[in-house]
């Protein structure tokens, strides 16, 4: 029986943990790895020598990526267990850290965790990130993992699971904010058999690394969410579409799937029930548009990754023409917690319309670059000034939502972060990238940067996105170079309207957003760059004439 297996694993993990007075956790997610945290890990393991009371392990992301490599030392010898965090740790520091075990922490490396960055977060999706070894299913189980799946399969009907999700108020974390429960209901109501569950892990927004961190730090969480979804909607096959640029995430997912299959929490007869759920990994080949669900499905099918008009939506006509549930990594990562603690609990967090927490990747001109998870409804100001550590007045704007989003000026930083409020400001929640910009950033340049991104990532299928992004980029470049006239700005605005309204998929429809939002709040920056004097660059008609109306 699975429940006994879980209990045994948990007991073993606890016992192993109790054998050690100290646990040293070294972040081995991409951010810290890139500053050689693997060397720190090896050095610490070697440096232990005869020290038996200590255990060293690699864990996932601890959040404050800019100060990496991060090392956390948990000590149980004192009356109250305590954790000390070290920042910017190098392999040479290992001996010193080991020597300090049970004594005063190494002062020059110690990181003060009594700051808003650590204190103001609410971790649901990231609860295990930085705590467990992502390559060991046992640690996930000891942390309560897969118990939600087990109870679901043995005690709930699919419709009860969906009810729980509906009750939680969870909305799609990929950016659109579509109610997850509603999506699940739709797929569940479609005729089977042969439905699919897809996890969209094709995170492509510049500056976004939320999904990457979750997959690298806690891959089982996503698998569990997918399996619960599969049970709820009646699908027995799942696909994770990960971008090829995330080799570490792929590697950890592969390990996780192998472990889960071996343990029997994935595969055929999951947890000894009649429910089968097989998860396959598909790699993206670097196209941003493959994050769009219909393009993603085409790519899984082995076709060129281009979108098709919706409706029909994937819920009706998805992978191989079958009803398909497609959610993003963070959405699935919320599911185990909702099932374990109940939809009602989840709904207490956040705002009236946006429930739960949201993971954000803070980047740009900010002190605390990294990954955070905060309740919906927290104000931009709290996130940027308090958690991010940017002094008030030192920040000009924040870009949210990536190439589909917009720039919000500092004057609006009191706005609570939820789907509707950000939309009202002309931006979007998006997948969770937040790029903080100081006074040195030119908003025209920002718009140009994102347009260049959309231009090179347009799939080329529909005319307006393919050609429109090129023309918009050229105009933005002309404006930025100070070679444009008023007429060019008018043309840019017309093009934005056209591309937004007539493009085939979300990429094109939202490509003008960075331009429109910067025009909305920083129009003067555009106007300042226009050539002076005449209304336009071309010599107008002779003074005495009324220009004739040319068609149309």
């Amino acid at each position: 029986m699975m429940i006994e297996k879980f209990a045994a694993i948990t007991a073993e993990e606890r016992q192993a943990e109790n054998e050690h007075d100290h646990t040293i956790k070294v972040c081995v997610a991409a951010g810290c790895l890139s500053s050689q945290s693997n060397e720190v890990l090896t050095a610490l393991k070697n440096g232990l020598g005869e020290h038996r009371g200590c255990h060293v392990k690699g864990v996932g992301c601890m959040g404050l990526c800019s100060q990496g490599p991060l090392v956390a030392v948990a000590t149980k010898t004192n009356a109250t267990p305590q954790t000390v965090m070290y920042q910017n740790v190098k392999a040479e520091d290992a001996t010193e850290i080991v020597q300090a075990l049970g004594k005063e922490p190494v002062a020059r490396l110690a990181l003060n965790t009594d700051v808003p960055f650590f204190q103001r977060q609410t971790k649901i999706v990231l609860e295990n990130c930085g705590a467990i070894d992502p390559e060991r299913i046992e640690e996930y189980i000891a942390a309560g993992g897969y118990q939600g799946l087990l109870t679901t399969l043995t005690e709930s009907s699919p419709s009860e699971v969906i009810d729980e999700i509906v009750r939680s108020g969870l909305r799609g974390r990929g950016g659109g904010g579509y109610p997850t429960g509603l999506k699940w209901t739709t797929v569940a109501k479609m005729d089977g058999p042969g439905k699919y569950v897809i996890c969209n892990a094709d995170e492509g927004d510049p500056g976004a690394f939320m999904d990457r961190s979750v997959l690298e730090s806690d891959p089982h969480r996503v698998l569990e969410g997918m399996a619960i979804a599969g049970y709820a909607v009646g699908a027995s096959e799942g696909y994770i579409y990960v971008r090829g640029e995330y080799p570490l995430a792929v590697e950890r997912l592969k390990i996780a799937i192998r472990q889960a299959n071996r343990l029997g929490v994935l595969g055929s007869k999951v947890c000894g029930t009649t429910f089968d759920f097989n998860v396959h990994i598909r790699l993206g080949a670097g196209a941003f548009v493959c994050g769009e669900e219909t393009a993603l499905i085409a790519s899984i099918e082995g076709k060129r990754g281009t979108p098709r008009p919706r409706p029909p939506y994937p819920a009706e006509h998805g992978l191989w023409g079958k009803p398909t549930l497609i959610n993003n990594v963070e959405t699935f990562a919320n599911v185990p917690a909702i099932i374990r603690k109940g939809g009602a609990w989840y709904a207490t967090i956040g705002t009236a319309k946006s429930k739960g927490t949201k993971v954000f990747a803070l980047a740009g001109s900010i002190q605390n670059t990294g990954l955070i998870e905060v309740p919906m409804g927290m104000s931009l100001s709290e996130i940027i000034h308090e958690i991010g550590g940017v002094p008030i007045g030192k920040c000009k704007a924040v870009q949210t939502g990536g190439p589909s989003g917009g720039c919000i000026p500092a004057a609006y930083f009191d706005t609570p972060v939820d789907y509707e409020s950000l939309k009202a400001l002309g931006s979007i929640m998006g997948s969770g990238g937040m790029i903080i910009m100081d006074e040195s950033s030119s908003m025209v340049d920002v718009a140009r940067y994102f347009m260049e991104f959309c231009m090179s990532e347009s799939c080329g299928k529909c005319v307006t996105c393919r050609v429109g992004t090129v023309h918009m980029y050229n105009l933005l470049d002309k404006i930025y170079q100070g070679k444009a006239w008023r007429r060019d700005l008018n043309t840019l605005e017309k093009l934005c309207d056209l591309v937004m309204n007539t493009s085939l998929c979300g990429l094109g429809q939202t490509a003008p957003n960075p331009v429109l939002s910067t025009l909305r709040y920083f129009r003067h920056e555009y106007l300042n760059k226009l050539l002076d004097g005449a209304e336009d660059g071309r010599m107008a008609t002779a003074a005495t004439t009324q220009p004739l109306e040319a068609r149309p």
């Binding site: 196209a287 393919r466 050609v467 090129v470 309204n501 493009s503």
Partner: protein, 239 residues
Amino acid sequence: MNQPTQARIFTLKIDGVDVAAREHETILELAQENNIFIPTLCHLEGLTEFGGCRLCVVEVQGSNRLFPACMTTVTEGMEVTTDSERLRVYRYMILGMLFSERNHVCSVCVSNGHCDLQFLAAKLGMTRVEMPYLHPSMVVDASHQHFIMDHNRCILCQRCVRVCGEIEGAFTKGVMGRGASSRIIHDLNGAWGDSKTCTSCGKCVNVCPTGALAEKGKSAGEMVKRRDWLPYLRSMQED
């Protein structure tokens, strides 16, 4: 469960006129039945719909979004507007984008006078292209014995790709690259003349809306394309 054997019939309004339509019918099919002109380029009867040219977008009452007529099926009570000031402006700009994207020189083109793009420009009253011409450097593939592919004139409607796969079953034609650097290719981007899969059937040439695909030896204005065979071949496949 009662299984209806008869297709359902919807009544709806198109440009203010009450019409009846079979379920699964597209707005474009319905409009054509009722002699309402909606401009199209990537659509061709007999090929699967593509939805890429965006010229056929129409307004549907109750929605701010625009819908491609070629891929939107009718619903009961729908009110469709196929022509409005807004749509005219959009279509005009889209057509201008197509002309500005590559190097379309009607006067020296084999398809002059028989070109869908040129025809639409005249039909929509287009007398100029407002957007600056991008004049990219494009190649011409004249390696095939009978046909020629001039990328300067290609609008990436992918009719050729679809007819090659769906009707001829050869799958010689494909697309590579992204965005404005997308390009029609043969097999794995080899010369057309070297293709082992091409059957030289010439279907791609005949479905091409512009002079991008033409028969060799035809001079300016001589390339007349025939497409009447396409719906028959398609219906034979379906039977």
